[in-house]
């Protein structure tokens, strides 16, 4: 078998095919349904293989969520104790058990949750404890839809994973409200947002292509100065959007930092393990033609 023959080996064929497929996949905007604007980069601290959450940002984000978003959006998979979890907004190494964290206890106590009287079974409202879930603003999904013109505000627990490029998307959407372009037929109760997924072609009466984005039932939720930050940060719409996006990212993936740290150790181990095994392989096959 000559060298030329070897060039077109199975490996070469497959590797080049995979490479070609990879180039195609990267070059084309995969699955981009509709014509939403590409989200702006929020410059978040948690991006990249070593990125971690910015605790101050998470605390500000919680405040925005609690004072603005929580009036319509639930976060059913979060418990108050999660706020004091490791890498969480109110994590304090002095309290390894987040249920003992006084800040978390106080934050829970600020809210009322539905319960029943343990003897009579009657419905009552009591102060929340760290073990309680975040209370949902609506008793059920039907009530949520009815109170919002038929569109129930989605749960935000995993929102940063439920949208492509989640954190940047949330940041862009919240800070990206603009006046609808002239020539766009707006239905009542609808708002225009260039970052919302959708296709506005059927509603476009202006010239040229339909504008990017789609209709969203939620009107612009943030105004400058709506929240007063405890750390003195100026509460611009951009700042609040960024902070709440970071908070939702943490809520969606609370084990992210733990995951990246574990991954670093695992990869180092695997690379060393591969090196040792390769050396063993070379020794065993030494002098054996194959």
């Amino acid at each position: 078998m000559s060298k030329e023959k070897k060039i077109v080996s199975f490996r070469k064929i497959l590797v080049s095919a995979i490479a070609a497929a990879g180039i195609v996949a990267v070059a084309s905007p995969a699955l981009a349904a509709g014509g939403a604007k590409h989200p702006r980069d929020g410059g978040f601290s948690f991006e990249g293989p070593f990125g971690t959450f910015d605790q101050g940002q998470l605390q500000r984000g919680y405040k925005v969520y609690r004072e603005v978003c929580a009036s319509c959006h639930g976060m059913d998979h979060l418990h108050f104790r999660n706020l004091g979890d490791k890498h969480g907004p109110f994590w304090n190494p002095k309290y390894p058990n987040p249920n003992d964290n006084p800040v978390v206890k106080a934050l829970a106590k600020e809210l009322q949750v539905a319960d029943i009287d343990s003897e009579t079974g009657e419905a009552l409202m009591r102060d929340a404890t760290t073990a309680d879930k975040f209370p949902n603003p609506y008793p059920n999904a039907t009530a949520a839809a009815a109170a919002n013109g038929g569109a129930a505000p989605p749960d935000l627990s995993v929102m940063a994973k439920a949208r492509h490029d989640g954190a940047n998307y949330i940041y862009s959407l919240l800070s990206g409200y603009v006046a609808p372009p002239k020539g766009l037929k707006m239905a009542p109760g609808q708002n225009y947002n260039p970052y919302m997924a959708g296709d506005l072609t059927p509603f476009w009466e202006g010239e040229g292509h339909a504008p990017p984005g789609g209709f969203i039932a939620m009107p612009a939720p943030l105004r400058a100065g709506q929240v007063s930050y405890d750390d003195g940060t100026e509460a611009t719409v951009d700042q609040m959007s960024k902070d709440v996006a970071a908070f939702i990212m943490w809520a969606s993936e609370p084990k992210m930092v733990e995951r990246k740290q574990a991954g670093f150790g695992v990869l180092i181990f695997l690379i060393l393990f591969a090196g040792i095994t390769y050396a063993s392989y070379r020794k065993i096959w030494k002098g054996v033609a194959h």
Partner: protein, 431 residues
């Protein structure tokens, strides 16, 4: 190799006692000493990698089942509880979810290796057929498992795929209702999908035993593709241990590095964001797609304008693999010595990727945006619909008539008399 003699001699009294009652040590030792063609390259390590994948999925799956609740009102929340509250639960779930993708990467490479080196040809037809059964069961298991988190993609994937059965004339509708346990995908469906998702991996494991049994009966293929005569066994073969245990082991570690990069740094890259939205039977996501490993078959399904025809085409795409050993008429196994077939094989590879690509696109979307096009029958020529049809045609042509006729007509390159011959040549070239 089929009647390779046992060389195990029990040394101690205990070993002798055990050997006459349960020769499990003998079995293990014979396995370790199994003569294996010395020229097996790294493409042959995917068998071992797949065994590890199956074990990973079964073990992580058993663990997840300890925490998962198969109920439409609780399934999504129980998965989130695994991610948040169960100690290390996020790791186990990400391993299981990405493990499915890793499993398919390995199985596709394993199948392509078999295709390229003619591992399906006599006397190895049964190995190939059992392998095809395993592949089919893997698809079924992966589909059932994807329904369990009860997200939007879970629900609508189940809806669309079960509806395929409804396309069967006359009996389709009753079977569909029976399969779902009601007129729509609901709690009954989720319960039975969970049960079956737990069952099928063990059926796969059983098939793997048969796969290996058939492999040891017929003997391993090798990159040269020739059968190794009995008198050359000493020259051409090496014991499985330590030569191939260490080679497989090294490949498995490299594979795990790729696996770990996904699990720890990009755990959701191979999934779809919509599956983090709880299932809503009243609203379909804007653009539904199956997991990447099903995309080529999904593309073939959509290529056919008729509903039942699409289903038939999709199943035929897997079904044709079963009869491949009898379609291929070439007497030469390895494509190393089949220059014409090699060209068709390269095109086939691109077509498989192409089908996968098309499966993720909207059928009416233009392939080259802005290029003028005319309408042919039911769609624009410059659309994924027609590109998919072109690819589908080639897919079946390659596995059917091309295999058949090229096998008859092609003039293969000279084939070495033994597998040591090319080995020696390369050695000499190196020297």
């Amino acid at each position: 190799m089929s009647n390779h003699e046992s060389t195990y001699v029990p040394k101690t009294a205990i070993e002798r006692w055990l050997d006459t009652r349960l020769p499990i040590v003998r079995f293990g030792m014979d396995y370790a000493n199994l003569p294996t063609p010395r020229n097996l390259n790294y493409w042959w390590t995917f068998g071992g990698i797949l065994a590890i994948c199956l074990m990973t999925q079964i073990i992580s799956g058993i663990v997840l089942a300890m925490h998962y609740t198969p109920h439409i009102g609780l399934a999504f929340a129980s998965v989130e509880r695994i991610m948040r509250d169960v100690p290390g639960g996020w790791l186990i779930r990400y391993v299981h979810a990405n493990g499915a993708s890793m499993f398919f990467i390995a199985v596709y490479l394993h199948m392509l290796r078999g295709l390229y080196y003619g591992s399906y040809k006599a006397p190895r037809e049964m190995i190939w057929i059992i392998g095809c059964v395993i592949f089919f069961l893997m698809i079924a298991t992966a589909f059932l498992g994807y329904v369990l988190p009860w997200g939007q993609m879970s629900f609508w994937g189940a809806e669309v795929i079960t509806n395929l059965i409804g396309a069967i004339p006359v009996v389709g509708e009753p079977i569909l209702i029976w399969l779902r346990g009601g007129p729509a995908i609901d709690n009954a469906t989720l319960n039975r999908f969970f049960s079956l998702h737990y069952l099928l991996p063990f059926v796969i494991a059983g098939c793997v035993v048969l796969h290996l049994w058939a492999l040891h009966a017929a003997g391993q293929n090798n990159p040269v593709g020739i059968l190794i005569p009995k008198d050359r066994e000493k020259k051409d073969m090496l014991p499985f241990h330590p030569y191939f245990t260490v080679k497989d082991g090294f490949a498995i570690i490299l594979f795990f590095i790729l696996f770990a990069v996904f699990v720890f740094y990009n755990p959701n890259a191979l999934g779809h964001a919509d599956n983090y939205i709880p299932a809503n039977p009243l609203q379909t996501p804007a653009h539904i797609v199956p997991e990447w490993y099903m995309l080529p078959f999904y593309a073939i399904l959509r290529a056919v304008p008729d509903k039942f025809g699409g289903v038939v085409a999709m199943f035929a795409a897997i079904g044709i693999l079963f009869v491949l050993p009898w379609i291929d008429r070439s007497s030469v196994r390895s494509m190393r010595y089949r220059p014409t077939m090699k060209i068709f094989f390269v095109i086939f590879l691109f077509v498989c990727f192409g089908l996968g690509w098309c499966g993720a696109q909207l059928p009416d979307a233009p392939v080259i945006p802005g290029m003028p096009s005319f309408t042919l029958l039911d769609g624009k020529l410059n659309s994924y619909l027609w590109l998919t049809r072109l690819f589908t045609l080639y897919y079946f042509a390659f596995l059917g008539p091309i295999m058949f006729f090229v096998g008859l007509k092609e003039k293969p390159l000279p084939i070495p008399a033994s597998i040591s011959e090319p080995v020696l040549k390369t050695e000499a070239e190196k020297a």
